[in-house]
């Protein structure tokens, strides 16, 4: 799993290395380190760390850090999201779009979505842009199929984002 953690280490030489070593010790792989030397609290500095590690090794890592006086301020898993974009052209008003997204949410798990509707109407409705983030590629495929099908039934042009 990909983990992001905010930790505090003593503001003395060698403490950063001492805080990173345990990640390797549990066979983790460090993806990124941000060493924030400006944020010193009680003689400790903030480090933001992103790393890959097997989930069953996390508790071991935490105990090693504790034994080395590393304070864990925040830790959480980072889930990659799949972005999907759509533009709907035709008779797509706000009520229709809201209803469409409600139905979509019954089929797929959204991490988030954002709807932008054009301000003007030309007598044939508004243009709508939907930017969604999904948790899995499978959900992204399902959403694609759902949008194409719904737009076809409602005589809308659906312009989908190109995915690899």
């Amino acid at each position: 799993m990909l983990v992001n953690a905010d930790i505090y280490v003593k503001d003395i030489p060698g403490s950063l290395v001492r805080s990173l070593e345990p990640v390797s010790a549990v066979d983790g792989n460090i993806v990124g380190v941000v060493h924030n030397r400006e944020q010193v609290i009680d003689g400790m500095i903030s480090v933001n760390l992103t790393f890959n590690v097997e989930s069953d090794k996390l508790e071991t890592l935490k105990s090693i850090w504790k034994s080395r006086d590393v304070v864990i301020a925040k830790m959480g898993s980072v889930t990659g999201t799949v972005p999907m974009d759509y533009i709907l052209i035709g008779n797509a008003d706000c009520a229709f779009t809201e209803n469409l997204m409600k139905k979509a949410a019954e089929t797929v798990a959204f991490s988030s979505y954002e709807i932008n509707t054009s301000s003007q109407t030309d007598g044939e409705g508004r243009t709508v842009r939907i930017s969604a983030k999904l948790e899995t590629k499978e959900d992204a495929k399902k959403l694609d199929a759902f949008m194409v099908d719904s737009c076809e039934k409602n005589k809308l042009t659906c312009i989908r984002g190109l995915t690899a």
């Binding site: 042009t157 312009i159 190109l162």
Partner: protein
């Protein structure tokens, strides 16, 4: 090598000119001469029949001055004219007919049944009857080549089947119609579809009746050809899901731009997808190309993504594809 050319419009003439331009090169490569023994256009024809001999500049000059070749067809079909002369290779460059394949399909069938090699740039016959023609070529020991049918000067079919042989092609996504791309990239500047279309017509890219391009029919033909020839799928034009660009509004283009994206008309082929549709792509995506170029991204299992681009139409560009197919066939026939 005795060559028969069916279709003597821009492309047919372009190839004929190429034979003249590349004469020295072809003579240095092969001992045998390449002779054009027959040419047919929609109204007229010329054949080397003992009393008349096709001559490069006379033929081109005649066609350019009168719009016709030496003899009127007077109701003769192209296949009847083909039967008047012995030839080894048919170059099929007659206009595309996507309803029933038109005369082009009849010509290709006729040549293959007679055991003649065929090079075609005519999309209709391939998009409608690829499997049948491929089978016919194999049954009769003929070569059927068609690099110029997709992307004109942009190498695609032979690149995938020969240069990338052994790799699995997972998908191809591309811009296969320069006119649509020109219109959409002009719309990026804020002008509406109708105006962008008129501009494309004035520049000579779009036909007076632009249906074939803007409704996605041309791109769909190419998608069907690629699906058959590269992905070995037995499909025809009617299996391709097609959405044209004529419903794309200036407002949609503006909303795409607000998100750092553009709208492009993309053909997509994979093992489970056959589609032509306007799609949203990031401005920095390889397929976000302006103007009338064709561009495609081939996703392979070993070499990763490979991007090719080139002019999708034009007589010189398409003639270059015919020339490469001609050389491919002659190399094998002379081996």
């Amino acid at each position: 090598m005795r060559v028969f050319i069916s279709g003597f419009g821009n492309i047919g003439r372009g190839f004929f000119e190429t034979l003249i331009i590349k004469d020295a090169y072809l003579k240095s490569r092969y001992d045998e001469l390449i002779t054009v023994v027959g040419i047919v256009d929609s109204k007229s024809y010329e054949i080397n029949d003992g009393t008349y001999k096709i001559c490069g500049f006379c033929t081109l000059g005649g066609k350019n001055n009168t719009g016709k070749l030496h003899t009127d067809r007077n109701g003769l079909s192209c296949t009847e004219i083909m039967d008047m002369v012995d030839f080894d290779l048919l170059i099929e460059a007659s206009p595309t007919n996507i309803t029933d394949g038109g005369e082009g399909l009849k010509n290709i069938r006729h040549a293959l049944r007679k055991g003649k090699d065929v090079i075609t740039v005519n999309k209709g016959p391939l998009a409608l009857a690829y499997s049948e023609l491929d089978e016919l070529a194999k049954e009769n020991g003929c070569y059927l080549r068609f690099e110029g049918s997709v992307g004109g000067g942009m190498p695609m079919i032979n690149l995938c089947n020969e240069a990338l042989v052994g790799q699995r092609i997972n998908s191809i996504q591309g811009i296969f119609n320069g006119t649509c791309n020109l219109i959409l990239s002009r719309m990026d500047s804020g002008i509406p579809f109708e105006q962008a279309l008129r501009e494309a017509q004035q520049l000579g890219y779009a036909e007076t009746d632009p249906t074939y391009d803007i409704k996605g029919i041309d791109s769909a033909c190419k998608v069907a050809i690629l699906a058959n020839s590269i992905f070995k799928r037995k499909v025809s034009f009617s299996d391709v899901s097609v959405t044209g660009i004529d419903t794309v509004t200036a407002e949609a283009v503006e909303m795409a731009a607000e998100k750092g994206m553009v709208i492009r008309h993309i053909g997509e082929i994979s093992k489970d997808r056959l589609e032509v549709a306007p799609r949203l792509i990031p401005k920095n995506h390889p397929l976000s190309v302006p103007g009338s170029l064709n561009k495609a991204q081939i996703l392979t299992d070993m070499a990763g993504p490979i991007t090719v681009s080139g002019r999708g139409a034009g007589k010189g560009e398409t003639a270059s594809a015919i020339l490469s197919d001609l050389i491919w066939i002659m190399d094998r026939r002379n081996a």
